[in-house]
Symmetry: C2
Subunit: 320 residues, 2 copies
Amino acid sequence: MYYLGIDLGGTNIAVGIVNEKYEIITKGSVPTLANRDGKLIIKDMAELCKKLVANAGLTLDDIAYAGIATPGTADSDTGVVVYANNLPFENFPIADLLKEYLGIKTVYIENDANAAAKAEAIAGAARGAKYSVMITLGTGLGGGIVLDGKVYSGFNHAGAELGHIVIHKDGKQCTCGRKGCWETYSSATGLVNMTKEHLIKARENGVKSLIEDMINGDLNNVNARVAFAAMKQGDKVGAEIVDEYIDYLASGVTTIINIFQPDVFSIGGGVCNEKDYLLKPLCEKVAKETYGNGGGPRTEIKIAELGNDAGILGAAVLGL
Amino acid sequence: MYYLGIDLGGTNIAVGIVNEKYEIITKGSVPTLANRDGKLIIKDMAELCKKLVANAGLTLDDIAYAGIATPGTADSDTGVVVYANNLPFENFPIADLLKEYLGIKTVYIENDANAAAKAEAIAGAARGAKYSVMITLGTGLGGGIVLDGKVYSGFNHAGAELGHIVIHKDGKQCTCGRKGCWETYSSATGLVNMTKEHLIKARENGVKSLIEDMINGDLNNVNARVAFAAMKQGDKVGAEIVDEYIDYLASGVTTIINIFQPDVFSIGGGVCNEKDYLLKPLCEKVAKETYGNGGGPRTEIKIAELGNDAGILGAAVLGL
Protein backbone atom coordinates (compact mmCIF):
# COMPACT_ATOMS: atom_id res chain seq x y z
CA MET A 1 0.00 0.00 0.00
CA TYR A 2 0.89 3.67 -0.39
CA TYR A 3 0.09 6.78 1.61
CA LEU A 4 -0.60 10.31 0.41
CA GLY A 5 1.33 12.81 2.49
CA ILE A 6 0.10 16.39 2.11
CA ASP A 7 2.13 19.27 3.51
CA LEU A 8 -0.21 22.25 3.49
CA GLY A 9 1.66 25.52 3.89
CA GLY A 10 0.77 29.18 3.67
CA THR A 11 2.62 29.41 0.32
CA ASN A 12 2.53 25.94 -1.25
CA ILE A 13 0.71 22.65 -1.01
CA ALA A 14 3.29 19.85 -1.34
CA VAL A 15 2.08 16.30 -1.88
CA GLY A 16 4.08 13.07 -1.91
CA ILE A 17 3.21 9.44 -2.42
CA VAL A 18 4.96 7.43 0.25
CA ASN A 19 5.57 3.69 0.31
CA GLU A 20 5.69 1.33 3.28
CA LYS A 21 9.42 1.92 3.67
CA TYR A 22 8.66 5.63 4.26
CA GLU A 23 10.20 6.55 0.90
CA ILE A 24 8.65 9.32 -1.19
CA ILE A 25 8.22 7.73 -4.62
CA THR A 26 6.95 10.90 -6.26
CA LYS A 27 6.03 14.39 -5.21
CA GLY A 28 4.74 17.71 -6.52
CA SER A 29 3.36 21.03 -5.40
CA VAL A 30 0.92 23.80 -6.29
CA PRO A 31 0.56 27.31 -4.85
CA THR A 32 -1.81 27.54 -1.88
CA LEU A 33 -3.08 31.01 -2.81
CA ALA A 34 -4.22 31.43 0.76
CA ASN A 35 -6.45 34.48 0.12
CA ARG A 36 -9.36 32.59 -1.37
CA ASP A 37 -12.26 30.35 -0.39
CA GLY A 38 -10.86 27.44 1.64
CA LYS A 39 -12.81 24.93 -0.45
CA LEU A 40 -10.86 25.95 -3.56
CA ILE A 41 -7.62 25.23 -1.71
CA ILE A 42 -8.80 21.71 -0.86
CA LYS A 43 -10.03 21.21 -4.46
CA ASP A 44 -6.57 22.06 -5.82
CA MET A 45 -5.08 19.74 -3.23
CA ALA A 46 -7.32 16.90 -4.43
CA GLU A 47 -6.44 17.57 -8.07
CA LEU A 48 -2.71 17.42 -7.31
CA CYS A 49 -3.20 14.13 -5.45
CA LYS A 50 -5.10 12.63 -8.39
CA LYS A 51 -2.41 13.74 -10.84
CA LEU A 52 0.42 12.28 -8.78
CA VAL A 53 -1.39 8.98 -8.25
CA ALA A 54 -1.97 8.68 -11.98
CA ASN A 55 1.62 9.68 -12.83
CA ALA A 56 2.90 6.98 -10.47
CA GLY A 57 0.89 4.38 -12.37
CA LEU A 58 -1.34 3.83 -9.34
CA THR A 59 -5.06 4.13 -8.65
CA LEU A 60 -6.80 5.38 -5.52
CA ASP A 61 -7.30 1.74 -4.52
CA ASP A 62 -3.55 1.58 -3.92
CA ILE A 63 -3.75 4.45 -1.41
CA ALA A 64 -4.40 3.38 2.20
CA TYR A 65 -5.22 6.92 3.29
CA ALA A 66 -4.25 10.57 2.93
CA GLY A 67 -2.73 12.62 5.72
CA ILE A 68 -2.64 16.42 5.89
CA ALA A 69 -0.08 18.36 7.90
CA THR A 70 -1.51 21.83 8.42
CA PRO A 71 -0.49 25.00 10.24
CA GLY A 72 -2.57 25.99 13.25
CA THR A 73 -4.74 24.00 15.61
CA ALA A 74 -5.90 20.77 13.99
CA ASP A 75 -8.49 18.57 15.67
CA SER A 76 -7.18 15.15 14.70
CA ASP A 77 -10.34 13.47 16.03
CA THR A 78 -12.76 15.33 13.78
CA GLY A 79 -10.50 16.35 10.88
CA VAL A 80 -11.35 19.99 11.46
CA VAL A 81 -8.85 22.85 11.41
CA VAL A 82 -9.95 24.86 14.44
CA TYR A 83 -7.82 27.86 13.67
CA ALA A 84 -4.86 28.73 11.46
CA ASN A 85 -3.02 32.01 11.45
CA ASN A 86 -2.06 32.11 7.78
CA LEU A 87 -4.92 30.20 6.12
CA PRO A 88 -8.63 31.04 5.69
CA PHE A 89 -9.67 28.16 7.98
CA GLU A 90 -11.78 28.50 11.09
CA ASN A 91 -13.54 25.35 12.23
CA PHE A 92 -13.05 24.16 8.67
CA PRO A 93 -13.57 20.42 7.92
CA ILE A 94 -10.59 19.84 5.63
CA ALA A 95 -10.57 16.06 6.08
CA ASP A 96 -14.21 15.66 5.02
CA LEU A 97 -13.73 18.01 2.07
CA LEU A 98 -10.68 16.12 0.82
CA LYS A 99 -12.55 12.81 1.19
CA GLU A 100 -15.30 14.26 -1.00
CA TYR A 101 -13.13 15.91 -3.66
CA LEU A 102 -10.56 13.12 -3.87
CA GLY A 103 -12.96 10.22 -3.40
CA ILE A 104 -11.18 8.31 -0.64
CA LYS A 105 -12.49 7.03 2.66
CA THR A 106 -9.79 7.94 5.15
CA VAL A 107 -8.08 11.29 5.70
CA TYR A 108 -6.09 12.18 8.82
CA ILE A 109 -5.03 15.67 9.80
CA GLU A 110 -2.50 17.00 12.28
CA ASN A 111 -0.67 20.22 13.06
CA ASP A 112 2.46 20.38 10.88
CA ALA A 113 5.02 20.53 13.71
CA ASN A 114 3.32 17.59 15.42
CA ALA A 115 3.30 15.62 12.18
CA ALA A 116 7.01 16.31 11.63
CA ALA A 117 7.72 15.04 15.15
CA LYS A 118 5.79 11.88 14.40
CA ALA A 119 7.71 11.38 11.16
CA GLU A 120 11.02 11.67 13.04
CA ALA A 121 9.71 9.22 15.66
CA ILE A 122 8.74 6.66 13.03
CA ALA A 123 11.33 7.09 10.30
CA GLY A 124 13.92 9.62 11.47
CA ALA A 125 16.14 10.68 14.36
CA ALA A 126 13.81 9.32 17.05
CA ARG A 127 13.21 5.90 15.47
CA GLY A 128 12.56 3.38 18.25
CA ALA A 129 12.16 6.02 20.97
CA LYS A 130 9.25 5.53 23.36
CA TYR A 131 9.09 9.26 24.11
CA SER A 132 10.41 11.95 21.79
CA VAL A 133 10.20 15.70 21.41
CA MET A 134 11.11 17.67 18.30
CA ILE A 135 11.56 21.36 17.72
CA THR A 136 11.92 23.09 14.36
CA LEU A 137 14.02 26.25 14.19
CA GLY A 138 12.56 28.24 11.32
CA THR A 139 10.69 31.52 11.00
CA GLY A 140 9.12 30.47 14.28
CA LEU A 141 9.96 27.70 16.73
CA GLY A 142 7.60 24.77 16.27
CA GLY A 143 7.23 21.88 18.67
CA GLY A 144 5.95 18.32 18.53
CA ILE A 145 5.61 15.71 21.25
CA VAL A 146 5.27 11.99 20.56
CA LEU A 147 4.49 9.70 23.50
CA ASP A 148 4.08 5.96 23.00
CA GLY A 149 3.77 6.45 19.24
CA LYS A 150 1.02 9.05 19.53
CA VAL A 151 1.15 12.79 18.97
CA TYR A 152 0.40 14.60 22.23
CA SER A 153 -1.37 17.94 21.86
CA GLY A 154 -3.66 18.25 24.87
CA PHE A 155 -7.40 18.12 25.31
CA ASN A 156 -8.07 20.85 22.72
CA HIS A 157 -5.28 19.88 20.25
CA ALA A 158 -3.62 23.26 20.89
CA GLY A 159 -0.70 21.99 23.00
CA ALA A 160 2.95 21.36 22.18
CA GLU A 161 3.42 25.07 21.51
CA LEU A 162 7.01 24.80 22.63
CA GLY A 163 7.97 28.08 20.97
CA HIS A 164 5.66 29.86 23.38
CA ILE A 165 7.21 28.89 26.66
CA VAL A 166 8.63 32.00 28.29
CA ILE A 167 12.31 31.54 29.03
CA HIS A 168 13.02 35.17 29.91
CA LYS A 169 10.17 36.86 31.75
CA ASP A 170 9.42 40.36 30.42
CA GLY A 171 11.96 39.75 27.65
CA LYS A 172 11.60 40.28 23.91
CA GLN A 173 8.08 40.83 22.55
CA CYS A 174 6.64 37.74 20.84
CA THR A 175 3.98 37.72 18.12
CA CYS A 176 1.79 35.60 20.44
CA GLY A 177 1.37 38.47 22.87
CA ARG A 178 3.72 37.19 25.58
CA LYS A 179 7.16 38.59 26.25
CA GLY A 180 10.30 36.46 26.36
CA CYS A 181 9.02 33.40 24.47
CA TRP A 182 11.66 30.85 23.48
CA GLU A 183 10.74 31.51 19.84
CA THR A 184 11.90 35.13 20.04
CA TYR A 185 15.43 33.96 20.92
CA SER A 186 15.91 30.55 19.33
CA SER A 187 14.05 30.58 16.02
CA ALA A 188 16.01 31.43 12.87
CA THR A 189 14.32 34.83 13.09
CA GLY A 190 15.62 35.15 16.64
CA LEU A 191 19.15 34.42 15.41
CA VAL A 192 18.81 37.09 12.71
CA ASN A 193 17.68 39.65 15.29
CA MET A 194 20.46 38.64 17.69
CA THR A 195 22.99 39.04 14.89
CA LYS A 196 21.74 42.53 14.07
CA GLU A 197 21.85 43.59 17.74
CA HIS A 198 25.43 42.40 18.13
CA LEU A 199 26.51 44.14 14.92
CA ILE A 200 25.00 47.41 16.05
CA LYS A 201 26.80 47.09 19.38
CA ALA A 202 30.07 46.20 17.61
CA ARG A 203 29.74 49.27 15.39
CA GLU A 204 29.14 51.45 18.43
CA ASN A 205 32.25 50.03 20.07
CA GLY A 206 34.34 50.37 16.91
CA VAL A 207 34.74 46.59 16.64
CA LYS A 208 35.01 45.26 13.08
CA SER A 209 33.33 41.93 12.28
CA LEU A 210 33.74 39.72 9.22
CA ILE A 211 29.97 39.71 9.07
CA GLU A 212 30.04 43.30 7.78
CA ASP A 213 31.62 42.13 4.51
CA MET A 214 29.19 39.26 4.18
CA ILE A 215 26.23 41.64 4.40
CA ASN A 216 27.87 44.48 2.45
CA GLY A 217 27.50 46.63 5.52
CA ASP A 218 23.69 46.50 5.27
CA LEU A 219 21.81 45.02 8.25
CA ASN A 220 18.92 44.18 5.91
CA ASN A 221 21.16 41.49 4.41
CA VAL A 222 21.61 39.65 7.72
CA ASN A 223 20.41 36.05 7.60
CA ALA A 224 20.56 33.11 10.00
CA ARG A 225 23.85 31.82 8.52
CA VAL A 226 26.28 34.74 8.73
CA ALA A 227 27.06 34.51 12.45
CA PHE A 228 28.02 30.84 12.14
CA ALA A 229 29.97 31.51 8.92
CA ALA A 230 31.97 34.32 10.56
CA MET A 231 32.57 32.26 13.71
CA LYS A 232 34.04 29.44 11.60
CA GLN A 233 36.52 31.97 10.18
CA GLY A 234 37.61 32.99 13.67
CA ASP A 235 35.50 36.13 13.95
CA LYS A 236 35.02 37.20 17.57
CA VAL A 237 31.65 38.89 17.07
CA GLY A 238 30.37 35.86 15.19
CA ALA A 239 31.54 33.58 18.00
CA GLU A 240 29.79 35.74 20.59
CA ILE A 241 26.52 35.68 18.67
CA VAL A 242 26.66 31.91 18.20
CA ASP A 243 27.47 31.40 21.88
CA GLU A 244 24.56 33.56 23.02
CA TYR A 245 22.20 31.92 20.53
CA ILE A 246 23.11 28.42 21.68
CA ASP A 247 22.90 29.54 25.30
CA TYR A 248 19.23 30.48 24.89
CA LEU A 249 18.57 27.37 22.85
CA ALA A 250 20.13 25.22 25.59
CA SER A 251 18.02 26.91 28.23
CA GLY A 252 14.81 25.95 26.47
CA VAL A 253 16.01 22.45 25.58
CA THR A 254 16.97 21.82 29.22
CA THR A 255 13.57 23.02 30.39
CA ILE A 256 11.80 20.66 28.00
CA ILE A 257 14.05 17.78 29.06
CA ASN A 258 13.35 18.50 32.75
CA ILE A 259 9.66 18.19 31.94
CA PHE A 260 9.60 15.27 29.50
CA GLN A 261 12.86 13.36 29.91
CA PRO A 262 12.30 12.00 26.39
CA ASP A 263 14.52 9.27 24.99
CA VAL A 264 15.32 11.55 22.07
CA PHE A 265 15.12 15.30 21.61
CA SER A 266 15.51 16.18 17.93
CA ILE A 267 16.06 19.54 16.30
CA GLY A 268 15.04 20.40 12.76
CA GLY A 269 14.89 23.52 10.59
CA GLY A 270 17.41 25.51 8.63
CA VAL A 271 19.69 26.35 11.57
CA CYS A 272 20.45 22.64 11.90
CA ASN A 273 22.54 22.77 8.73
CA GLU A 274 25.26 24.00 11.10
CA LYS A 275 25.33 20.41 12.37
CA ASP A 276 28.09 19.85 14.97
CA TYR A 277 28.79 23.56 15.27
CA LEU A 278 25.32 23.76 16.76
CA LEU A 279 24.93 20.34 18.33
CA LYS A 280 28.21 19.96 20.21
CA PRO A 281 28.13 23.17 22.26
CA LEU A 282 24.39 22.71 22.74
CA CYS A 283 24.85 19.25 24.27
CA GLU A 284 27.60 20.55 26.54
CA LYS A 285 25.46 23.39 27.83
CA VAL A 286 22.43 21.15 28.35
CA ALA A 287 24.47 18.50 30.19
CA LYS A 288 25.64 21.15 32.63
CA GLU A 289 22.11 22.32 33.37
CA THR A 290 19.87 19.26 33.29
CA TYR A 291 18.30 18.36 36.61
CA GLY A 292 20.26 15.58 38.29
CA ASN A 293 18.98 12.04 38.43
CA GLY A 294 21.94 10.43 40.13
CA GLY A 295 23.99 10.04 36.99
CA GLY A 296 21.27 7.94 35.32
CA PRO A 297 20.65 7.78 31.59
CA ARG A 298 20.25 11.04 29.69
CA THR A 299 18.12 12.22 26.81
CA GLU A 300 19.87 11.94 23.45
CA ILE A 301 19.88 15.25 21.56
CA LYS A 302 20.03 14.82 17.78
CA ILE A 303 19.69 16.72 14.55
CA ALA A 304 16.44 15.74 12.79
CA GLU A 305 16.95 13.52 9.75
CA LEU A 306 14.03 14.10 7.43
CA GLY A 307 14.75 17.70 6.42
CA ASN A 308 12.35 19.36 4.01
CA ASP A 309 10.43 16.11 3.56
CA ALA A 310 9.37 16.02 7.22
CA GLY A 311 6.03 17.65 6.34
CA ILE A 312 5.11 15.16 3.62
CA LEU A 313 6.40 12.18 5.60
CA GLY A 314 4.75 13.44 8.78
CA ALA A 315 1.42 13.64 6.98
CA ALA A 316 1.97 10.23 5.38
CA VAL A 317 2.51 8.45 8.71
CA LEU A 318 -0.50 9.95 10.50
CA GLY A 319 -2.50 6.75 10.20
CA LEU A 320 0.25 4.56 11.62
CA MET B 1 -10.39 -4.22 49.65
CA TYR B 2 -8.11 -1.64 51.22
CA TYR B 3 -4.88 0.02 50.12
CA LEU B 4 -1.88 1.03 52.20
CA GLY B 5 -0.77 4.54 51.27
CA ILE B 6 2.72 5.40 52.49
CA ASP B 7 3.97 8.98 52.34
CA LEU B 8 7.72 8.75 52.87
CA GLY B 9 9.22 12.11 53.74
CA GLY B 10 12.61 13.33 54.90
CA THR B 11 11.18 13.91 58.41
CA ASN B 12 8.27 11.49 58.85
CA ILE B 13 6.81 8.33 57.38
CA ALA B 14 3.03 8.75 57.25
CA VAL B 15 0.86 5.70 56.53
CA GLY B 16 -2.85 5.53 55.90
CA ILE B 17 -5.28 2.70 55.20
CA VAL B 18 -7.50 3.80 52.34
CA ASN B 19 -10.80 2.24 51.29
CA GLU B 20 -12.30 1.93 47.82
CA LYS B 21 -14.02 5.30 48.19
CA TYR B 22 -10.56 6.90 48.61
CA GLU B 23 -11.24 7.62 52.28
CA ILE B 24 -8.45 7.29 54.83
CA ILE B 25 -9.96 5.05 57.52
CA THR B 26 -6.94 5.29 59.83
CA LYS B 27 -3.49 6.78 59.71
CA GLY B 28 -0.30 7.18 61.74
CA SER B 29 3.32 8.24 61.43
CA VAL B 30 6.82 7.56 62.73
CA PRO B 31 10.01 9.61 62.34
CA THR B 32 12.06 8.77 59.25
CA LEU B 33 15.41 9.36 60.97
CA ALA B 34 16.96 9.76 57.56
CA ASN B 35 20.59 9.49 58.69
CA ARG B 36 20.63 5.71 59.10
CA ASP B 37 20.75 2.51 57.07
CA GLY B 38 17.93 2.65 54.53
CA LYS B 39 16.82 -0.87 55.46
CA LEU B 40 15.99 0.28 58.97
CA ILE B 41 13.75 2.99 57.51
CA ILE B 42 11.81 0.41 55.50
CA LYS B 43 11.63 -1.91 58.55
CA ASP B 44 10.02 0.88 60.61
CA MET B 45 7.69 1.56 57.71
CA ALA B 46 6.62 -2.11 57.68
CA GLU B 47 6.08 -2.15 61.44
CA LEU B 48 3.84 0.93 61.25
CA CYS B 49 1.83 -0.68 58.45
CA LYS B 50 1.34 -3.86 60.49
CA LYS B 51 0.25 -1.88 63.54
CA LEU B 52 -2.30 0.17 61.59
CA VAL B 53 -3.72 -2.90 59.84
CA ALA B 54 -4.17 -4.63 63.21
CA ASN B 55 -5.65 -1.51 64.84
CA ALA B 56 -8.21 -1.26 62.02
CA GLY B 57 -9.33 -4.81 62.73
CA LEU B 58 -7.96 -5.97 59.37
CA THR B 59 -5.39 -8.53 58.23
CA LEU B 60 -2.90 -8.27 55.38
CA ASP B 61 -5.32 -10.35 53.30
CA ASP B 62 -7.60 -7.30 53.24
CA ILE B 63 -4.86 -5.16 51.69
CA ALA B 64 -4.78 -5.18 47.88
CA TYR B 65 -1.34 -3.56 47.77
CA ALA B 66 0.87 -0.95 49.34
CA GLY B 67 1.99 2.21 47.54
CA ILE B 68 4.94 4.38 48.52
CA ALA B 69 5.24 8.05 47.58
CA THR B 70 8.90 8.97 47.91
CA PRO B 71 11.03 12.03 47.27
CA GLY B 72 13.51 11.85 44.42
CA THR B 73 13.60 9.75 41.27
CA ALA B 74 11.51 6.61 41.67
CA ASP B 75 11.60 3.87 39.05
CA SER B 76 7.99 2.76 39.15
CA ASP B 77 8.76 -0.23 36.90
CA THR B 78 11.35 -1.80 39.21
CA GLY B 79 10.36 -0.33 42.58
CA VAL B 80 13.82 1.15 42.99
CA VAL B 81 14.54 4.66 44.25
CA VAL B 82 17.23 5.79 41.83
CA TYR B 83 18.19 8.87 43.77
CA ALA B 84 16.77 11.00 46.56
CA ASN B 85 18.25 14.22 47.81
CA ASN B 86 17.21 13.92 51.46
CA LEU B 87 17.18 10.15 52.02
CA PRO B 88 19.99 7.57 52.09
CA PHE B 89 18.70 5.87 48.93
CA GLU B 90 20.69 5.34 45.77
CA ASN B 91 19.44 2.59 43.49
CA PHE B 92 17.69 1.25 46.57
CA PRO B 93 14.95 -1.41 46.10
CA ILE B 94 12.39 -0.09 48.56
CA ALA B 95 9.45 -2.00 47.02
CA ASP B 96 11.18 -5.37 47.34
CA LEU B 97 12.29 -4.61 50.90
CA LEU B 98 8.79 -3.60 51.98
CA LYS B 99 7.37 -6.75 50.37
CA GLU B 100 9.84 -8.79 52.43
CA TYR B 101 9.42 -6.98 55.76
CA LEU B 102 5.67 -6.55 55.53
CA GLY B 103 4.89 -9.85 53.87
CA ILE B 104 2.74 -8.68 50.97
CA LYS B 105 3.02 -9.40 47.28
CA THR B 106 2.47 -6.06 45.62
CA VAL B 107 4.16 -2.74 46.35
CA TYR B 108 4.12 0.24 43.99
CA ILE B 109 6.37 3.27 44.25
CA GLU B 110 6.27 6.71 42.69
CA ASN B 111 7.80 10.14 43.19
CA ASP B 112 5.73 12.05 45.77
CA ALA B 113 4.72 14.97 43.54
CA ASN B 114 3.69 12.54 40.78
CA ALA B 115 1.67 10.49 43.27
CA ALA B 116 -0.10 13.61 44.54
CA ALA B 117 -0.99 14.53 40.96
CA LYS B 118 -2.43 11.04 40.43
CA ALA B 119 -4.46 11.34 43.64
CA GLU B 120 -5.94 14.64 42.45
CA ALA B 121 -6.67 13.06 39.05
CA ILE B 122 -8.50 10.12 40.64
CA ALA B 123 -10.12 11.59 43.73
CA GLY B 124 -9.52 15.34 43.78
CA ALA B 125 -9.59 18.50 41.70
CA ALA B 126 -8.87 16.75 38.40
CA ARG B 127 -11.44 13.94 38.77
CA GLY B 128 -12.59 12.89 35.33
CA ALA B 129 -9.89 14.81 33.48
CA LYS B 130 -8.17 12.99 30.63
CA TYR B 131 -5.04 15.10 31.00
CA SER B 132 -4.06 16.92 34.19
CA VAL B 133 -1.05 18.69 35.62
CA MET B 134 -0.52 19.55 39.27
CA ILE B 135 2.01 21.75 40.99
CA THR B 136 2.66 21.98 44.73
CA LEU B 137 3.85 25.30 46.12
CA GLY B 138 5.87 24.39 49.21
CA THR B 139 9.52 24.61 50.19
CA GLY B 140 10.12 23.77 46.54
CA LEU B 141 7.82 23.66 43.54
CA GLY B 142 6.86 20.07 42.76
CA GLY B 143 5.17 18.93 39.59
CA GLY B 144 3.14 15.93 38.47
CA ILE B 145 1.69 15.05 35.08
CA VAL B 146 -1.11 12.54 34.58
CA LEU B 147 -2.00 11.54 31.02
CA ASP B 148 -4.77 9.04 30.32
CA GLY B 149 -4.77 7.95 33.96
CA LYS B 150 -1.03 7.29 34.05
CA VAL B 151 1.75 9.27 35.70
CA TYR B 152 4.10 10.65 33.04
CA SER B 153 7.73 10.97 34.12
CA GLY B 154 9.80 10.23 31.04
CA PHE B 155 12.03 7.35 30.00
CA ASN B 156 14.16 7.55 33.16
CA HIS B 157 11.37 8.47 35.61
CA ALA B 158 13.11 11.81 36.25
CA GLY B 159 10.69 14.04 34.35
CA ALA B 160 7.87 16.33 35.47
CA GLU B 161 10.41 18.51 37.27
CA LEU B 162 8.19 21.51 36.67
CA GLY B 163 9.94 23.57 39.35
CA HIS B 164 13.09 23.44 37.26
CA ILE B 165 11.88 25.10 34.11
CA VAL B 166 13.72 28.39 33.69
CA ILE B 167 11.25 31.25 33.42
CA HIS B 168 13.79 34.04 33.78
CA LYS B 169 17.11 33.29 32.11
CA ASP B 170 20.11 34.20 34.29
CA GLY B 171 17.69 35.05 37.11
CA LYS B 172 17.77 33.95 40.73
CA GLN B 173 20.12 31.08 41.65
CA CYS B 174 18.29 27.76 42.11
CA THR B 175 19.47 24.86 44.29
CA CYS B 176 19.47 22.67 41.15
CA GLY B 177 22.34 24.63 39.63
CA ARG B 178 20.33 26.58 37.06
CA LYS B 179 19.46 30.23 37.35
CA GLY B 180 15.91 31.56 37.10
CA CYS B 181 14.01 28.32 37.77
CA TRP B 182 10.28 28.71 38.36
CA GLU B 183 10.79 27.27 41.84
CA THR B 184 12.96 30.21 42.91
CA TYR B 185 10.04 32.61 42.27
CA SER B 186 6.85 30.66 42.82
CA SER B 187 7.51 28.22 45.68
CA ALA B 188 6.53 29.30 49.21
CA THR B 189 10.25 29.90 49.73
CA GLY B 190 10.24 32.14 46.67
CA LEU B 191 7.37 34.14 48.15
CA VAL B 192 9.26 34.53 51.44
CA ASN B 193 12.33 35.81 49.59
CA MET B 194 10.23 38.15 47.43
CA THR B 195 8.59 39.53 50.59
CA LYS B 196 11.98 40.22 52.19
CA GLU B 197 13.28 41.96 49.07
CA HIS B 198 10.26 44.25 48.89
CA LEU B 199 10.48 45.08 52.58
CA ILE B 200 14.15 46.03 52.25
CA LYS B 201 13.31 48.25 49.29
CA ALA B 202 10.37 49.80 51.19
CA ARG B 203 12.66 50.56 54.13
CA GLU B 204 15.19 52.18 51.81
CA ASN B 205 12.44 54.34 50.33
CA GLY B 206 10.99 55.21 53.72
CA VAL B 207 7.73 53.39 52.93
CA LYS B 208 5.99 51.82 55.94
CA SER B 209 4.26 48.47 55.46
CA LEU B 210 1.83 46.67 57.77
CA ILE B 211 4.08 43.65 57.34
CA GLU B 212 6.66 45.30 59.62
CA ASP B 213 4.29 44.94 62.58
CA MET B 214 3.46 41.34 61.69
CA ILE B 215 7.14 40.40 61.75
CA ASN B 216 8.11 42.67 64.66
CA GLY B 217 10.47 44.45 62.33
CA ASP B 218 12.61 41.30 61.94
CA LEU B 219 13.03 39.91 58.43
CA ASN B 220 13.74 36.48 59.93
CA ASN B 221 10.07 36.32 60.91
CA VAL B 222 8.85 36.66 57.33
CA ASN B 223 6.72 33.71 56.20
CA ALA B 224 4.67 32.94 53.09
CA ARG B 225 1.46 34.37 54.59
CA VAL B 226 2.33 37.93 55.62
CA ALA B 227 2.23 39.52 52.16
CA PHE B 228 -1.29 38.18 51.52
CA ALA B 229 -2.39 39.13 55.05
CA ALA B 230 -1.15 42.71 54.64
CA MET B 231 -2.66 42.98 51.15
CA LYS B 232 -6.07 41.99 52.54
CA GLN B 233 -5.78 44.89 55.00
CA GLY B 234 -5.13 47.33 52.18
CA ASP B 235 -1.34 47.47 52.51
CA LYS B 236 0.32 48.76 49.32
CA VAL B 237 3.60 46.88 49.78
CA GLY B 238 1.71 43.66 50.49
CA ALA B 239 -0.37 44.17 47.33
CA GLU B 240 2.76 44.76 45.25
CA ILE B 241 4.40 41.57 46.55
CA VAL B 242 1.29 39.49 45.90
CA ASP B 243 0.95 40.94 42.41
CA GLU B 244 4.57 40.18 41.54
CA TYR B 245 4.32 36.69 43.05
CA ILE B 246 1.21 35.84 41.06
CA ASP B 247 2.75 37.35 37.94
CA TYR B 248 5.64 34.87 38.05
CA LEU B 249 3.28 32.04 38.97
CA ALA B 250 1.06 32.91 35.98
CA SER B 251 4.05 32.95 33.67
CA GLY B 252 4.97 29.38 34.57
CA VAL B 253 1.38 28.16 34.54
CA THR B 254 0.85 29.65 31.07
CA THR B 255 4.01 27.98 29.82
CA ILE B 256 2.87 24.59 31.10
CA ILE B 257 -0.58 25.10 29.58
CA ASN B 258 0.96 26.06 26.22
CA ILE B 259 2.80 22.74 26.33
CA PHE B 260 0.20 20.37 27.76
CA GLN B 261 -3.21 22.01 27.32
CA PRO B 262 -4.47 19.79 30.14
CA ASP B 263 -8.17 19.63 30.99
CA VAL B 264 -7.29 20.63 34.54
CA PHE B 265 -4.29 22.39 36.05
CA SER B 266 -4.39 22.08 39.84
CA ILE B 267 -2.32 23.86 42.46
CA GLY B 268 -1.56 22.48 45.90
CA GLY B 269 0.64 23.41 48.84
CA GLY B 270 0.40 25.91 51.66
CA VAL B 271 0.14 29.03 49.47
CA CYS B 272 -3.20 27.68 48.19
CA ASN B 273 -4.81 28.46 51.53
CA GLU B 274 -5.13 31.96 50.06
CA LYS B 275 -7.80 30.43 47.81
CA ASP B 276 -9.52 33.07 45.63
CA TYR B 277 -6.97 35.75 46.55
CA LEU B 278 -4.51 33.56 44.67
CA LEU B 279 -6.73 31.85 42.12
CA LYS B 280 -8.73 34.77 40.72
CA PRO B 281 -5.85 37.08 39.72
CA LEU B 282 -3.89 34.02 38.56
CA CYS B 283 -6.65 32.95 36.18
CA GLU B 284 -6.96 36.50 34.84
CA LYS B 285 -3.24 36.75 34.13
CA VAL B 286 -3.10 33.30 32.51
CA ALA B 287 -6.14 34.00 30.32
CA LYS B 288 -4.40 37.09 28.97
CA GLU B 289 -1.25 35.18 28.08
CA THR B 290 -2.31 31.73 26.92
CA TYR B 291 -1.57 30.99 23.28
CA GLY B 292 -4.68 31.49 21.16
CA ASN B 293 -6.64 28.59 19.79
CA GLY B 294 -9.42 30.51 18.12
CA GLY B 295 -11.44 31.00 21.27
CA GLY B 296 -11.73 27.25 21.85
CA PRO B 297 -12.02 25.59 25.25
CA ARG B 298 -9.50 26.50 27.94
CA THR B 299 -7.73 24.60 30.69
CA GLU B 300 -9.51 24.83 34.04
CA ILE B 301 -7.21 26.08 36.80
CA LYS B 302 -8.20 24.84 40.26
CA ILE B 303 -6.97 24.64 43.83
CA ALA B 304 -6.04 21.05 44.71
CA GLU B 305 -8.54 19.33 47.00
CA LEU B 306 -6.67 16.66 48.92
CA GLY B 307 -4.43 18.90 51.05
CA ASN B 308 -2.04 17.19 53.44
CA ASP B 309 -3.49 13.78 52.61
CA ALA B 310 -2.40 13.98 48.97
CA GLY B 311 0.76 12.00 49.78
CA ILE B 312 -1.04 9.10 51.48
CA LEU B 313 -3.86 9.09 48.92
CA GLY B 314 -1.41 9.42 46.05
CA ALA B 315 0.49 6.38 47.29
CA ALA B 316 -2.74 4.48 47.87
CA VAL B 317 -3.99 4.93 44.29
CA LEU B 318 -0.73 3.92 42.58
CA GLY B 319 -2.09 0.52 41.62
CA LEU B 320 -5.27 1.91 40.06
